[in-house]
């Protein structure tokens, strides 16, 4: 848990805020009452903390002159200066919000119909739109200099991408065969598992997932044959290189075998207002409560289509948040005593700036719940981009590959996919370790 860091201060739009070193910038801002972290690009709709893991793009802020830094996944260091990026005079009150009122006049593709008989007007309109929309900023010279990267090369037998429960287990398995292993992970090792409830079998005993993830992370860090990099694997290129970017360096990885353990994505709900600050995806909620140790909400509605609804409701209640309702869409139902369980769907998430109320349609009627959190706990989707890319790039064509994974362990020459990236429905670190062993043995065999 990183919530035990020392107290530090940082500057937010001229104000001094206090935080614990290592907690996310987003959690520190929300602790201080800031819920609007940026504005959307075109219609300037308020946007806030949503996914927790730098996937959704809803929380870019400028840190020490470098724009586009994800507040949800960037730890507070102490002493930095944080600013929001869009909105005039501020992200809280943005006069350009009026463009949203014009949204019905500006449907997708409107620009292809605009002024088509008046090329001069079309060109002028484009210039105006560029002034309004082209709001991104260059990094300051100092921030740009800090992104200058040192490049090095590494040739591990096995490269594991993703250091969650499955990735750590696979790395330990591969290393046990004598193979050299590199593990790439952004942020604290253990990943989403650090915030999850539930338990998994490991070495004959059943252990809470969060504790097991922390333990395997410790074993990985302590292992001599495993090189851990805090960074992001950019891509798998046709020459076999996987560039890893982290901090001020780029490591060109040339692995013999690639293990993809990139986990899962939370899936957003489809309803009006689903982008409002206060509508937060399940893993983002868990991370805020259980890793960052911040409870920025008082009342919650949980939307679900699976057993995660009850799990999240229990986590919220444990953190002191009142769960007023669990809405089961697609006819699912829940058993957690306490909150009302409704079968229906979200009609709308309402609130001028941030979430104030949720309208729930149950049969023929609509019930309204006053709430400041709508936790969207739908069934996850495999984060299998890198694995699919490996197949597409290998084929050299975007049209000739069937996508997707069956949920069975994937272990073909050059590529293995484990954990929820492969569609596994349960945490199964022992199976991930077994795949890691097979891959490691093969890579070490090839390498020798």
């Amino acid at each position: 848990m990183t919530s035990a860091g020392e107290k530090v201060t940082f500057t937010f739009e001229g104000r001094t805020l206090t935080a614990r070193r290592g907690q996310s910038v987003a959690s520190a801002l929300m602790q201080s009452g800031t819920t609007v972290l940026t504005r959307s690009f075109k219609y300037r709709r308020p946007r806030g903390y949503t996914c927790g893991y730098d996937v959704c793009g809803s929380c870019p802020v400028t840190v020490d002159g470098l724009p586009g830094v994800s507040a949800c996944s960037t730890p507070v260091q102490g002493g930095e200066s944080v600013d929001r990026e869009r909105g005039w005079p501020s992200a809280d009150r943005d006069v350009m919000r009026v463009s949203d009122l014009m949204a019905p006049l500006l449907p997708a593709g409107f620009q292809f119909r605009l002024f088509r008989s008046h090329p001069r007007l079309a060109h002028l309109a484009e210039k105006v739109m560029a002034r309004v929309a082209g709001a991104g900023r260059f990094p300051t010279a100092e921030a740009a200099a800090a992104t200058r990267t040192l490049t090095s090369t590494a040739r591990p037998d096995v490269l594991v991408v993703g250091g969650g429960l499955s990735g750590c287990a696979a790395a330990l398995g591969a290393a046990s065969t004598g193979a050299s292993v590199a593990l790439v992970h952004r942020g604290p090792l253990g990943g989403r598992a650090l915030a999850r409830s539930g338990s998994a079998a490991w070495e004959g005993t059943t252990t809470p997932v969060a504790a097991l993830a922390a333990r395997l992370a410790d074993e990985v860090r302590a292992h001599e044959a495993i090189d851990v990099l805090d960074g992001t694997a950019l891509s798998w290129f046709e020459t076999g290189v996987v560039p890893v970017v982290g901090g001020d360096r780029v490591v060109d990885m040339w692995p013999t075998q690639l293990v993809v353990a990139t986990g899962s994505y939370d899936v957003p709900g489809l309803f009006p207002g689903n982008d409002k600050p206060g509508v937060v995806l399940a893993d983002g909620v868990s991370k805020m409560l259980r890793v960052d140790g911040v409870v920025p909400w008082r009342r919650a509605v949980v939307l679900t289509d699976c057993e995660r609804g009850d799990v999240l409701a229990a986590q919220l209640r444990e953190a002191g948040v009142e769960v007023v309702a669990v809405v089961h869409q697609d006819g699912a139902d829940g058993t957690l005593p306490g909150p009302r369980h409704l079968t229906g769907r979200i009609e709308a998430a309402r609130g001028l700036k941030t979430l104030r109320a949720v309208d729930v349609r149950v049969g023929g009627r609509v019930e309204t719940f006053d709430t400041d959190l709508l936790c969207v706990a739908l069934r996850e989707r495999p984060a299998d981009d890198l694995a699919l890319q490996w197949r597409y790039v290998s084929a050299g064509s975007p049209t000739s590959v069937a996508g997707g994974w069956s949920g069975a362990p994937v272990d073909e020459d050059g590529l293995a996919v484990v954990g929820s990236a492969a569609g596994w429905l349960e945490d199964d670190p022992e199976q991930a370790r077994a795949v890691g062993e097979a891959v490691g043995a093969r890579a070490a065999g090839v390498a020798r």
Partner: protein
């Protein structure tokens, strides 16, 4: 799901004209044929319309070249770009924001006056800029690399997908049928004359077949024994996250082998090249080009340091020894027409399509098109053009 303008169902057994390739060349040619009353036309593509180089290029448009041949062909195109939004009833987002060919060496600066004089003689208006003027026009340029330039104010860029969609819809409205997901396996002939094409959806009869197949155009030529010196090449581009407007014109840098512009959304779009062609039709992007592109653009625009790359893509072309396209009827195969060998294909399509349709419907080769015939390559008479952002294998 079928795209608007794409015909559902299988093709008929015969058409007056079959065009192979639903890229910007094929669709523009179909549209120009329809404008001339030839509407019983099928455009057949192995994939989706605009899925090849038509949607993977730098979107830039100029007519200021150094040779008479290039200048006249692309001047016609540039005029068409200015008319297309109204004519196609679809805003192609043509931005006549200027096209700057940057001079970064003393040698390039010394050559500018002669090039501009030639352009003036061919009827194209350009301005020779000194270092101070270039830096005023594009203040973010690295001053060490901004020694001069030739600016064509009427040049600029357009939205490449919009051009494809505009031509597609307009052609479909006029009665042209466009099919996607059909492989053309070969051109059929009888007595040396074209009789149609063999496809994965059966044979289609046609007296006129147009090869506008982009990267795979040489493969189609091989099926009728048309041997042209075409080689495949892969080109790559990057797009950055949006930044405030800093580059109003399109810019080409022969010194860096690069070209770039900034979109209305603020994204910087740029591509660079390295000597030689890699002779592949793979659409994979490569790490060495990602590095090459990023390094060169940060060198030219130091402000881009630290700006993230949002995405990158690769497109493939089929190029000729003089980098000029091949336009006209194939030597020795009456009825088989070529619009191939394009590396500036997006920019040249509106003009070339008009000329090609005119030649097909009248049987007379327009003067502007004549120099681009295939025979020049067979005879070794290459078109000399000195302002292209390419470098040949020999020159490297």
């Amino acid at each position: 799901m079928t795209l608007p303008g794409v015909t559902a169902g299988p093709p008929a057994s015969s058409y007056d004209v079959v065009i192979v390739g639903a890229g910007v060349q094929g669709l523009a040619t179909a549209y120009e044929l329809a404008r001339r009353g030839v509407t019983n036309v099928a455009v057949v593509d192995r994939s989706w319309p605009g899925g090849g180089a038509s949607g993977r290029n730098g979107e830039m448009i100029r007519s200021a070249f150094s040779s008479r041949e290039w200048t006249q062909l692309f001047e016609l195109s540039l005029k068409r770009f200015a008319e297309l939004s109204a004519e196609l009833d679809f805003n192609i987002l043509f931005s006549p924001s200027g096209y700057l060919v940057l001079a970064s060496t003393e040698e390039e600066v010394a050559g500018q006056d002669a090039i501009a004089a030639a352009q003036a003689a061919y009827g194209v208006e350009t301005e020779v800029l000194g270092a101070a003027q270039v830096r005023k026009l594009v203040p973010h340029l690295n001053p060490d690399l901004a020694l001069g330039g030739i600016l064509q104010r009427k040049g600029g860029f357009a939205h490449h997908d919009a051009v494809v969609w505009g031509y597609l819809r307009a052609a479909a409205r006029a009665g042209v049928s466009v099919f996607s997901g059909i492989d053309v396996l070969g051109v059929t002939t009888a007595g040396g004359r074209v009789t149609g094409v063999r496809t994965s959806a059966g044979d289609i009869a046609a007296d006129v077949v147009v090869n506008a197949a982009g990267t795979t155009s040489d493969d189609l030529n091989q099926t009728v024994g048309v041997e042209l010196p075409l080689i495949k090449a892969r080109l790559e581009m990057i797009v950055t996250e949006p930044v405030k407007p800093f580059l109003s014109c399109a810019l080409a840098s022969p010194h860096m082998l690069g070209y770039c512009h900034q979109t209305a959304r603020g994204e910087f779009v740029g591509g660079t090249e390295r000597p030689g062609a890699d002779e592949t039709d793979s659409l994979n992007t490569t790490y060495h080009m990602l590095r090459d592109t990023a390094t060169k653009w940060v060198k030219l625009f130091p402000s881009l340091a630290g700006v993230r790359i949002l995405r990158s893509w690769a497109g493939t072309v089929s190029q000729t020894p003089d980098f000029a396209p091949v336009l006209g009827e194939a030597p020795g195969v009456p009825g088989y027409w070529l619009s191939v060998g394009w590396i500036y294909g997006f920019m040249g399509a509106p003009g070339a399509a008009q000329l090609l349709a005119e030649a097909i419907t009248t049987g007379r080769v327009p003067d502007t098109m004549a120099p681009f015939g295939a025979q020049r390559l067979l005879d070794g008479r290459l078109i000399e053009e000195n302002t292209l952002v390419v470098i040949s294998e020999e020159a490297s």
